[in-house]
Point group: C2
Chain length 169, copies 2
């Protein structure tokens, strides 16, 4: 199944948090699950803060990328068009708020859930929770905006369906 991020054009798929073309990134992948989005991520041993617990900066990064992915998916839905239709949506973060409700244990898979709180114009506000098992450990609220044209890179030279599916892990 393709993740929302799999629809990002190659030149916008370089992100350290979720870019499929970033050789050193976290490769977060977000999927629709009904009206919400989900992503699963198992931190590595070095993604620690205090030993035994997941690094808060990494958690913020996952929340961030899951939110911008959710925003892109929601923008397509709001327009009633498919995620492989043009032009592509790509959101960036204006403001990120992360509450660490309790320490997140390092080891188990994390489940991120995204929920759109509002869509208005180019702005999408997304709530993201991080859970381990049945326990929510982190709650984030992210104000995302459609990437301004001033940030847009030129299209990748080899842009196409095949290379868009290349993942480096």
């Amino acid at each position: 199944m393709k993740a929302i991020q799999d629809y990002y054009p190659d030149e916008l798929a370089q992100c350290f948090g979720c870019g499929r073309l970033n050789a050193h990134g976290h490769h977060l992948r977000s999927f629709w699950e009904g009206d919400q989005t989900e992503a699963r991520f198992t931190p590595l041993a070095f993604h620690t803060a205090i030993p035994g617990f997941v690094n808060g900066g990494l958690l913020a990064s996952l929340v961030d990328c899951h939110a911008t992915g959710t925003a892109a998916g929601a923008a397509y839905r709001a327009e009633g068009r498919a995620m492989d239709s043009m032009p592509p949506h790509r959101f960036v973060t204006a403001s990120l708020k992360v509450d660490y409700l309790r320490p997140t244990p390092l080891g188990p898979e994390l489940l991120l859930r995204g929920r759109v709180l509002s869509i208005s114009g180019r702005k999408v506000v997304v709530e993201v929770t991080v859970s381990v098992g049945s326990e929510v450990t982190v709650r984030g609220e992210v104000v995302t905006v459609e990437m301004p044209e001033s940030m847009r890179p030129p299209p990748a030279p080899s842009h196409g369906g095949t290379s868009a599916r290349v993942r480096h892990e």
Copy 2:
């Protein structure tokens, strides 16, 4: 010159963002500069978001670690004791708010500045800005708290003689 993080005991120096003992981490190092703190960090090429700009999750991570480091430093100062005195201070993040004021260009060195907004009991609130040249690109506000005893790992084996570092509250 020793950074604030250089005073963290070995077992608390594993952090992905600022742990000197994390082989894969960012190794952020924070220093007092008068009443403020500073840290400098040059992102690597893969620390990107949209090409040409620094990843927002990485920026959040740097803000986070600079804030917890600043909080630890401030806690020693508030008690009028040196950072190599016992017991060690180590703060964790309760809440992280990051406003991305403008895109942060990827390439130049980033300057993080920390300023203590309040200290009360075990809680220290820190403002952190990220600048490139004379331009502030990011502003963060971080609520940090002294690490709870429930998170404390055992002292690192190579420091068996320093078990006095274990705090009992």
